[in-house]
């Protein structure tokens, strides 16, 4: 699903965010990405979503070589991903329903289908009945779940999340993590960048650890 092959990323000004990263994530895996802040976690996710371009090396996502992907193809790649941000990236002048419907509207899905799928997605994250509300009236945890609903409503093959539990208390964070496990169970590949090491340990999944842009893989199996 994801294959990094000696990937380097340096930003203008010389800062090297990612150094010689090589790893693979197979379809159906759930992988955590950990590391101190500034270690390059966000950069790695941005490379997958083509928000940033690889400086050197090869990157293949869902069978497409991102290194050589033309600009006008990027939207079609992103439609195969579900992206979840720490700060939700919701549109506050639109209702929960409209926020979640956005990926479907973009792909030109019919109205009935949109309505059905948005409800299904909101149901999954436990927000059914709140579709007419505006995100600003929701709590932080609820907003994050709206963001998750939006990321999965179009049934992506790959879910990437950048600190999805960053601003949430441990209980809520656990709830969110359970959601990710749920999606993973139905076959979605999931990559989560997080600080919450205790949660990661509790789940016992594969962990990629970044340290100053260098990758250091460790399998955590303790439960």
């Amino acid at each position: 699903m994801i294959h990094f092959d000696r990937v380097h990323k340096h930003y203008p000004g010389g800062h090297e965010a990612l150094k010689d990263a090589s790893f693979r994530i197979e379809p159906g895996e759930l992988v955590f990405l950990t590391g101190h802040s500034g270690a390059g976690k966000s950069t790695l996710l941005k490379l997958i979503a083509l928000i940033e371009r690889v400086s050197q090396g090869q990157l293949v996502v869902d069978g497409e070589n991102l290194t050589s992907m033309r600009r006008n193809r990027i939207p079609y790649l992103r439609r195969r991903l579900g992206i979840i941000f720490q700060d939700h990236h919701l549109l506050y002048d639109r209702t929960v329903f409209d926020n979640v419907a956005l990926p479907l509207v973009i792909s030109g899905v019919s109205h009935q289908e949109i309505s059905r799928r948005v409800r299904a997605a909101l149901d999954k994250v436990g927000l059914l009945g709140k579709e007419r509300l505006y995100p600003i009236t929701l709590s932080g945890g609820e907003q994050q779940r709206v963001g998750i609903a939006r990321a999965v409503v179009h049934k992506p093959v790959l879910l990437i999340a950048d600190e999805p539990t960053g601003n949430l208390d441990p209980e809520l964070a656990q709830e969110i993590m359970k959601l990710f496990l749920l999606f993973n169970q139905v076959g979605v590949t999931v990559l989560i960048a997080t600080h919450a090491l205790d949660l990661v340990r509790a789940l016992g999944r594969r962990v990629l650890h970044l340290d100053h842009g260098r990758l250091d893989e460790a399998m955590v199996t303790t439960r």
Partner: protein, 337 residues
Amino acid sequence: MTVLERKPPPDRPRRRNAPRPANGNSHSRTLPSPKAYLLRHAEVLVSSLGRLWRNPVASLMTVAVIGIALALPAGLHLLLENARVLSGGWDGSTQVSLFLRRELPAAESKRLAAALLKRPEITETTLIPRAEALEEFRALSGFGGALDALDDNPLPDVIVVRPAATHATPKAVEKLVADLAVEPGVEHARLDMQWVKRLYALMEIVRRGVEVVALLLGLAVLLVVGNTIRLDIQNRRREIEVVKLIGATDAFIRRPFLYSGAWYGLLGGFTAWLLVSTALWATGGPVQQLALLYQSQFRLISADATTVPALLVGGALLGLLGSWLAVGRHLEAIEPN
């Protein structure tokens, strides 16, 4: 490296994990059905108007500026059209007026008119005796009282000469005028076409002027719409970033802005039509009074079947173009990070 070697051609999107839950959205760039495509455009058409509606003050100001900018050339164009209709009545009626010496006896005038008729380049001569001319002048001009105060009839006999069609070219007519001017008994020969020609020349200049003004104001409309759309893009920067992240194509993001621009232009064109109509209505009364004074049935022609669609379509196209320019310049620059 093996993965890279097994990479499929980039134009054939591949799904590796085929048995996924049923997925309606196609990953390839298959076009939606024409009906769905039109439906999406119709939705954006309506929603972009709704967006204008939700910002009534700002939208109205933009529309008003466009309306005024379009009303000016449209109004000038109508003014010219009216002038053309007004002057059209005299077109082709070339005639030469011969003002005879005042001391010439009436019999001599008659003889001269008859003699001139024998010339091959003249088809018709009409003698207007000075007494008749005075009566007509007294009846029409309203200066009757002033004329009574004069001891003598100040008007000369006039022979109106109509050149033959074979001699109606400007050069031939000019030669005829020169010939007639030196005819004994003729005080002064005047070609009545002259002022019509001058009027036409003048109108041509004005027409060019209107074209230049229209061009400049069209440019102004482009800039106004472009600037409005640019601000709109800036206000919606966050939204654009988010939808780009979710996989919106440039066309999808561009669409509402283009429709907004077209709406601005269309509504501006409509406003221009209202302005011009109002101006015509306001001037219609006085113009008719003036026409009556000239014993003319002339009435102002209003915006016609070509001007109104031209205003609306032209306005919409200008708006579309203006927003296209703004969108092209500013949308590319917004990338999520």
